[in-house]
């Protein structure tokens, strides 16, 4: 199990290496959030919740501080809240989506200390002290990032539900590898599913963004 007293997931996610397509598999990515995967998989059976039968509906709470899209926040969270719940429900950053809530689809991907993580599988308390970036933090002063513009130009979104997650993982890729090949993009984005199956267009958009100067 993850040691809750250690802020951030960096010790596992620092192994992410986009330069070598073989270095990062989807399974590695999932195992990087191992503790949370186990917890939600056990709890999600037919929607039955995390708590065992008990009469109190209260959860223990903790005070955390984190930076989201450059803004510092100090807030008190239920220990059972995930990072994506805090982003969406407490900070009104609803751009980050919940597709599976169990580390399968990648719709909830955000950058945590620069690395893509599934925010459905990070407890909010683990984000104490972290620097988080969401899809709302990609455009600067109303100017789309080159990657966002490439998604507009290349029909990156169909329904758009997976788009924020695709954008965040691709942003991390472009920071490490400003001009990726199509194969490198496919490898990096393997943990972000798209059921519209707009995969060809997404890869074309990321490659085009690389040609135009990367994530910046």
């Amino acid at each position: 199990m993850r040691d809750k007293s250690k802020p951030g997931p960096s010790e596992t996610d620092s192994s992410v290496n986009y330069l070598d397509p073989k270095a990062q598999s989807r399974r590695d990515f999932l195992e990087g959030t191992g503790a949370a995967v186990v917890a939600t998989a056990a709890a999600s059976s037919l929607g039955v919740g995390v708590a065992s039968a008990q009469e109190s509906s209260r959860s223990a709470r903790s005070a955390i501080s984190l930076t989201v899209n450059g803004v510092d926040h100090s807030l008190e969270v239920d220990d059972r809240w995930t990072l994506v719940e805090v982003l969406r429900d407490q900070l009104d950053l609803t751009g980050t989506k919940i597709g599976c809530n169990r580390s399968e689809c990648g719709a909830c991907t955000v950058l945590m200390n620069g690395q893509p993580v599934y925010s459905c599988s990070q407890l909010a308390v683990w984000a104490d002290g972290a620097d988080v970036r969401t899809v709302e933090g990609l455009a600067l002063n109303g100017q789309l990032s080159p990657l966002q513009q490439a998604f507009v130009d290349n029909n990156g979104p169909q329904c758009g539900f997976c788009t924020p997650g695709q954008l965040m993982t691709a942003t991390a890729l472009l920071q490490d590898n400003p001009s990726p090949t199509a194969a490198e993009v496919q490898s990096a984005l393997v943990g972000n599913l798209c059921r519209c199956s707009n995969y060809n267009a997404i890869v074309e958009a990321v490659v085009a963004a690389g040609d135009q100067g990367g994530a910046a």
């Binding site: 919740g49 708590a51 509906s57 980050t96 329904c159 943990g191 199956s197």
Partner: protein, 722 residues
């Protein structure tokens, strides 16, 4: 921008140009508001308790401990919330007709007793917090009396099978008739007598969950007797009507809001039980209620493509002429007949002697329903593998065998236009079919074998009624009101482009108001590939109405506006109107480990005039990739002893990821047949229809083994090669 390959027509002013979505910025910045992104003051969160058993009678439900949990506001069960979900059991495809609810023999309620599949709804809880609602579910005590269950449709019809409904397991049609669906033309026995060779094969296909990225959810809010539902719906007008009918309201008492939604592919048609449960809880609690399904609940509690078993018998003369086609088939519907259970494809052939008998069968699996081209991909896989197999056995090129036997226009069955020969010939040439296919299947030396497969389709592009309103103000700014939602194909943009073209103005002068039944007129819904041709045609007619008004009265001034509207009832003058497509695919099969890799995938489609080439191209590419998943990976497996589902979820169903995706080549041959909006036809569903057939045919060509069961997973290939 990468562009679709097109030939045949030049672009018009707006239509035919690659156009970014008008709402693209909302989609890439996180501003696009999906249902779960709405927040209303005092909103409660709801969860549903579901059956852990495949078939059981509920003896008792004790909610007292759950109700005592601080934060729990309302709990409903089958005992105190008997709401019929009309669209949940239609007994046969007439879901929009009011008498359906009376005719439905097997009513489906929002909570049912007995429960008939793992995931059937038992109770729902609204609480101040979603975690409290989940805690409350764990405190509900349900006593079940377990009943015998049956999972396979053929077993369900056998003597002594557990009876899921009192009338037996053959699902009645919408009139309540307990008969299979039979289509009988010519004399099939005479056709077999005429044949030189007769071929018989059994094919089967799996359950494919729609698996749209956004799980089912619904936010209900009442003001007096008026209900507002924020819900991801593929047809807000139909959703409003169904919801009003189920809750005993008038249509105007229900408002549906659905603008951005995270896909659906057919499982967000009509209204859903989530809408009715949220509305019921909200009314009881006196507060807005957001009901959220988990991914597993969505997988088991909504629906997916029906699994089928198809027995074919085909007679052929030595000259390659098909003389008779017979199919006896079984569609597993789950315990409620939510949709038709159809199996299409036989009708692509000219052969005059055809007998089709489809049994829609109740089982204790999760419910089956519409998925992108509901009746087609599994049927086309079956019949086109049958025909491909026959062609190779007779030493004929399957493309030639198809061109010899395919259905073509006749004097008594004319088409608006017919492009099947052209798409097949264009595809064969682009793909270099004669060089890539193995004339002797499985003839590659060594364990890694390559081969090529082909498939084709014809799909309805009929016209129909929808409505549109367009307004112009003194600044010459136009506002288009259309009751469409954007499930992904880009309907908002397409409708705006059609309006701009018809009005003769740039797209930037047209605002589109959409996705809200209180603001928009009737629209047919984002199902059946109908929005572009039906609502699009209404947009053209509304624009014509407005232009006539402007011509007679001049442009408005000051605070004045002019408003044009239309609800056309177009027809094809008795002609068949279809879109056409041909796919060619090359695969590489590693027969040592059973894996299949797609090396090349070429598609040629005729979908009339293409409105927005970018989004049309990605409809085809996305549909093909979904079809590859159906061919190779996806299925909802069950444990036959316990009746428990084994592969719900993306991971277990092995959905394709970025790493699995080949480049899909798309060519549109454009034609304007004089019907529909500027000649546009259907596109959204067409690409998936023929993809599983092409992949399976290619695997047979590579391995020399006909794979008669979808998905063609590694174990099946290894088994066939052993």
């Amino acid at each position: 921008m990468s562009q679709a390959n097109r030939r045949g027509l030049d672009p018009l002013s707006v239509i035919g140009n690659d156009t970014p979505r008008v709402d693209a910025i909302e989609r890439v910045t996180g501003q696009a508001k999906f249902t779960r992104d709405w927040k209303l003051p005092g909103m409660l969160f709801a969860r549903v308790l579901r059956s852990p058993h495949p078939h059981a009678r509920i003896v008792s439900v004790d909610t007292s401990a759950a109700a005592a949990l601080p934060g729990v506001v309302s709990i409903i069960t089958h005992e105190d919330a008997q709401v019929v979900w009309g669209a949940g059991s239609i007994n046969g495809g007439r879901q929009y007709n009011d008498p359906t609810k009376d005719a439905t023999l097997h009513r489906r309620y929002i909570f049912n007793n007995p429960v008939r599949f793992v995931g059937d709804s038992v109770a729902a809880v609204a609480a101040t917090d979603r975690h409290i609602a989940e805690q409350a579910l764990a405190l509900i005590e349900v006593e079940y009396e377990q009943l015998p269950f049956v999972l396979e449709p053929e077993e369900a019809l056998a003597d002594g099978a557990p009876q899921i409904w009192p009338e037996g397991n053959l699902a009645p049609d919408f009139r309540g008739n307990l008969e299979p669906m039979v289509s009988d033309q010519g004399d099939v026995e005479a056709g077999f007598d005429e044949a030189d060779q007769i071929f018989e094969t059994r094919y089967e296909t799996g359950f494919i969950h729609n698996a749209q990225m956004e799980p089912r959810c619904s936010l209900a809010s009442w003001e007096g007797d008026k209900l507002t539902l924020y819900t991801p719906s593929q047809g807000i007008s139909n959703c409003r009507h169904d919801t009003a009918r189920d809750l005993g309201l008038m249509d105007h008492q229900v408002r549906i809001v659905a603008q951005y939604m995270g896909g659906g592919f057919g499982n967000k048609n009509q209204n859903q039980d989530a809408d009715l449960i949220a509305a019921t809880l909200s009314r009881r609690a006196g507060a807005p209620v957001m009901l959220e399904y988990s991914r597993r609940e969505d997988w088991l509690g909504v629906h997916g493509r029906w699994p089928t078993v198809q027995y074919y018998k085909v007679g052929v003369r030595d000259d390659g002429e098909i003389t008779a086609i017979q199919m006896r088939a079984y569609s597993g519907m789950g315990p409620y007949r939510k949709n038709s259970g159809g199996i299409s494809g036989m009708d692509y052939y000219r052969c005059p002697n055809r007998l089709r008998e489809i049994h829609p069968v109740y089982t204790n699996r999760t419910t089956s329903g519409n998925f992108r081209a509901p009746s087609e991909p599994h049927g086309v896989y079956g019949v086109e593998n049958m025909m491909d197999d026959i062609a190779y056995r007779m030493g004929i090129d399957p493309v030639e065998f198809t061109l010899q036997n395919v259905r073509r226009p006749t004097d008594d069955r004319p088409y608006t236009n017919y492009s099947l020969d052209e798409v097949i010939e264009e595809g064969a040439q682009q793909f270099n079919w004669s060089a890539r296919r193995r004339s002797t299947p499985g003839s590659d030396e060594g364990p890694i074998k390559r081969g090529a497969g082909f498939s084709f389709m014809m799909f309805r592009a009929g016209l129909g009624t929808s409505s549109a309103i367009v307004r112009v103000d003194a600044n010459e700014q136009y506002t288009l009101y259309v009751g469409v939602t954007d499930i992904g194909p880009g309907a908002k943009t397409t409708m705006g482009m059609i309006a701009a073209e018809a009005l003769g103005v740039p797209l930037s002068q047209v605002d589109v108001v959409w996705g809200d039944t209180d603001r928009c007129p009737y629209s047919v819904g984002e199902s059946g590939s109908r929005t572009t041709i039906m609502t699009g045609y209404a947009v053209v007619q509304a624009a014509e109405d407005l232009k006539e008004q402007i011509a007679s009265r001049g442009m408005p001034s000051g605070a004045g506006v002019l408003i044009g509207s239309a609800t056309p009832v177009p027809s094809t003058d008795g002609k068949v109107r279809q879109c056409f497509g041909a796919h060619f695919v090359e695969v590489e099969v590693d027969t040592r480990i059973g894996t299949t890799r797609i090396l090349k995938y070429t598609t040629v489609h005729e979908s009339g005039r293409i409105i927005n080439p970018t989004t049309a191209r990605d409809q085809i590419r996305g549909a093909v990739i979904q079809g590859i998943g159906q061919a190779l990976h996806e299925n909802l497996l069950y444990d036959p002893r316990s009746g428990q589902p084994l592969t719900p979820g993306y991971y277990r169903a092995r959905h394709l990821t970025h790493m699995d995706i080949p480049e899909i080549e798309v060519t549109f041959i454009e034609v304007d047949d004089g019907y529909g909006p500027f000649g546009a036809k259907t596109a959204g569903e067409s690409g998936i229809i023929l993809a599983p057939a092409a992949v399976a045919n290619a695997i047979a060509n590579a391995t020399g083994r006909r794979m008669t069961s979808l998905p063609i997973t590694r174990d099946k290939i290894l088994g066939a090669m052993a």
